[in-house]
Amino acid sequence: MPPKMDFDSYDVGPFFDEMFTPDGKPRPGCRMLHDKIASLPPGEILARQAAAEQAFYDMGITFTVYGHEEGTEKIFPFDIIPRIIEAAEWDALERGLIQRIRALNLFIDDVYHKGRIMADGVVPRAVVESSSGYFKECQGLNPPHGVWCHITGSDLIRDEAGRFMVLEDNLRCPSGVSYVLANRRILKRAFPQVFEAIDIRPVDDYAPLLLDMLHAIAPQATNRPTAALLTPGVYNSAYFEHTFLAQQAGIELVEGRDLVVADGYVHMRTTKGLKRVDVLYRRVGEDFLDPQVFRPDSLLGVPGIMEVYKAGRVAMANAPGTGVADDKVVYAYVPRMIRYYLGEEPLIDNVETFLCWEDKARKHVLANLDTMVVKAAAESGGYGMLVGPAATPEEREAFAAKIEADPRNYIAQPTVSLSRAPVIVDDHFEGRHVDLRPYILYGDDIRVIPGGLTRVALRRGSLVVNSSQGGGSKDTWVLGPGASARS
C-alpha cells in the first residue's frame, strides 16, 4: 500500500512557513492547493513527482555526473509542491523591485559618467573602483536610453516574521529563468485542475518580453533588428538555458567563433556569407568579451566588438560594465542610492550588512562569527562563504584570517532564518528553507516576471539554496487579484 501523503504531521517549526500559519492552518491563498493534495489517493503525489522528474529527463534538462559511469545524467532537483505568493504581497514586491532597479541603473550610469554619488560622499570611490565588475574601459559609454541593467535577478529572502528582504542583486548574467518556464510547464501537467480553478499569473510571456526588450535597445537606425544570444558554448553549465531562451525568443544562438567584426559592424558567419547582428544578449562576461580590450587570452569573445559597441552599432544586454553594481559591498549602499537618486525610502530593505573594511564593523563581525554569514564580495553560487552557526571553530578561525588579510573582499550579515516551504521527503512532507529570485527586464520600461525561481535548500536545516550546493527548485505561483477570495 503506497503511503497516503497529507500535512497532518507536518511541523511548521519556529520559522515562517510559506504554506501554513504558525498554528498549522493553510494560508488563504494555499487552501485550494492544500485541499487538493490532501484529497489525492495514496501514492498519487509520489507518482506525479516521479512523472515530473521523468519529464525533465526526457526534455534533456540534465547535467552530467562525473566520476560515475561515463555519461550518467541527472536532473536538477525539483519539488512539485509549488510555492504560492498572494496578489497583494507580490504587488508590493514588484513596486520595490522596480524602485531598486531604477536606482541601480542610475548608479551605474553615474559611475561611468560624472560619478556624482562618489563626489557627494554617499558611496566611497574606493568601493566602486575596487569592485571586480568595474571596468574603467566603460567610462563615458552611453548605452541606448541610458539603460545598463537590462536583465536582473535579485535574490529575495524572508525572515521569521515573513518580511521580504533583498539578499543580493545579480546584474551580470543571472541564470535560472529557463527553470521558471520549465517548472511551470511541468506543474501544469502535474496539477491541471488547480490551474483551472485558481487565477495564477502566467510566466509564459517572458520570452516575448525578452525579445521586445532586445529590440527596444537596438541601434536606432535599424528597421528590423537582428538579435542573438552569445553563449560561451556547449560546455557552459547554463548552456541549456541559452538554447532554451534563444529558441523561445526566436533569436540566433551564437558563439564567439560565429561572430566577426567587419566594416564597423558585428556579423554572423552564415551559409550565405556575413549577416549583421544588431543586438547581443550576452551570456559571456566582460572579461571574455573582447580580447582586444579585456582579457587578451579569451577565446570566447569577439575581437573588436567593443569598438563597434562604442560607436553605437551594436547593443548589448547587459551593457558592459553593469557588473560594478553586482558586488556585495556595493549592495550594502543600495538603500542609500535609492534615497540619493530617487528621493524615496526603499520599499524592500536590505539584510543588515557589515562591511569588513570598516574597522568598527570588522571588529563586530570577528567577535560574532558564530552567528553571522560571511561572504566574499565578488563570489556567487554559494562559493566563498561561511555560515557561522553551521561552521566548526576551526573553519571560523580560518575564515577570520581571510577577513583580516583582505577586508575589502568580505561582508557579513546576521544569520537570517529563511522562510520554509513543504517539500516531499521520501514518503512525507518536511519544511525546507527557500529563497526567491525574480527576474526583471529593463528596455523601454521595467517589467518584472510574476514570481521567479524559488530555490530550496534540500538538505535538512541547510540555508544554502544554490544549485551548486545541493539546492533544488520549485514552481512559484503568484495569484491574480482576487484569487484567494475565490478559492
Partner: protein
Amino acid sequence: MLSRVADAIYWMSRYLERAENIARFLDVNWHLTLDTPGGRGEQWMPLVSAMGDYDLFAARGLPGNRETIIRFLAFDPEYPNSIASCLARARDNARTIREIIPTEMWEQINTFYHLVREAAKGCDAVLNNPYHFCDEVKRRDLTISGIAGDAMSHDEAWDFFRLGRLLERADKTSRILDVKYFILLPHPTDVGSNLDYVQWAALLKAISALEAYRRRHGRIQPERIVEFLLLDHDFPRSVLWSLIRAQQCLHAITGTPMGYFANPAEKRIGQLCGDLAYMSVEDVVAKGLHEFTDNLQTRMNRVDEAVFATFFSTFPAIDGASQQ
C-alpha cells in the same frame, strides 16, 4: 543560417539515418538466419563490410559471429558507426542546435539516445533477439523524420536536415546492394543464374523495398532489383531518388536554378544525377556492379566534401573535421 548550425543539423541527420540503416541491416540478417536453419545463412561479416569497416572489426581480433557483430554494430562505444555511437553524436550535434530544431525533435533524440544506452546495458536480450530493438530504432528515426516534415518550417535548416539524410541513405543503399551482390554473384556474367530468392527478398526487406518492388516488377530478378535500388524514380530509398532530392535541397539552399551550378557541391551532385538518370541497368551490369558502386561511393564522398567546403568549412561544429 550559421555555418556551424548548418553543419550540426546536417550531421545530426546523417547520424540518425545511419543508425536507422544499421538497424535495418541487423534486422534483415537476423531474419535470414531464421529462414535458413542450420546456420547456412549466418553470414554476419558482410554487414561489417557493408559499412566499409572491415578493418576496424578485424582489429578487435574477434570471431565474426552473430553475437560479436551485433554487439559491434549496435553497441560498441569505440566503433564510431555503431548505433550507440551514432546516437551519441546525433545528440551532441542536436544539443548545439536545440534552438533551431523543434522541441519535440530534441526530446525524441534525447529519449532515443537514452533508450539505446539502456539497451546497451542489457544487451544480451538484444543479442538473442534483435528484432524488437531494431524495430524500435527504425520507428524512432521515422518519428524524427515525421517531426522534421510536419513540425519544422521547410526552410534552410530543413533543407540541410534533408540533405544529410538523403546523402547518407544513398550511400547506405548502394553499400548494401554492393555487398549482397558480391556474395551472391561474384561474377557479373553470373547475372540471371543461381537466384537465391530468400537472400534477395531479404535484401529488399532490409530497406523496406520488398512490397514496393513486387508492385513494380513482380518477380524477383537480380537485374530488376539492381535497377530498383539504384535507379527507381519513385522509391524513396533508391540511390537516384535520394540524390535527386538531395540536389533539390542544395538548390533550395542556394537559390541557384536547377540545371545550373554556382558552387562545387551543386556541380558534382548535378553531374552524378545526370549520369545516373541517363543510365540503364544494362549499362551498370556491363560495367560490373561492384566497380559501379565503388565509383558511385567515391563520387558521393566528393559531393560531401564539396558540401563541407561550400557551407561549413569556415566553422566546423564540434571538431567537424572528425565527423564522417
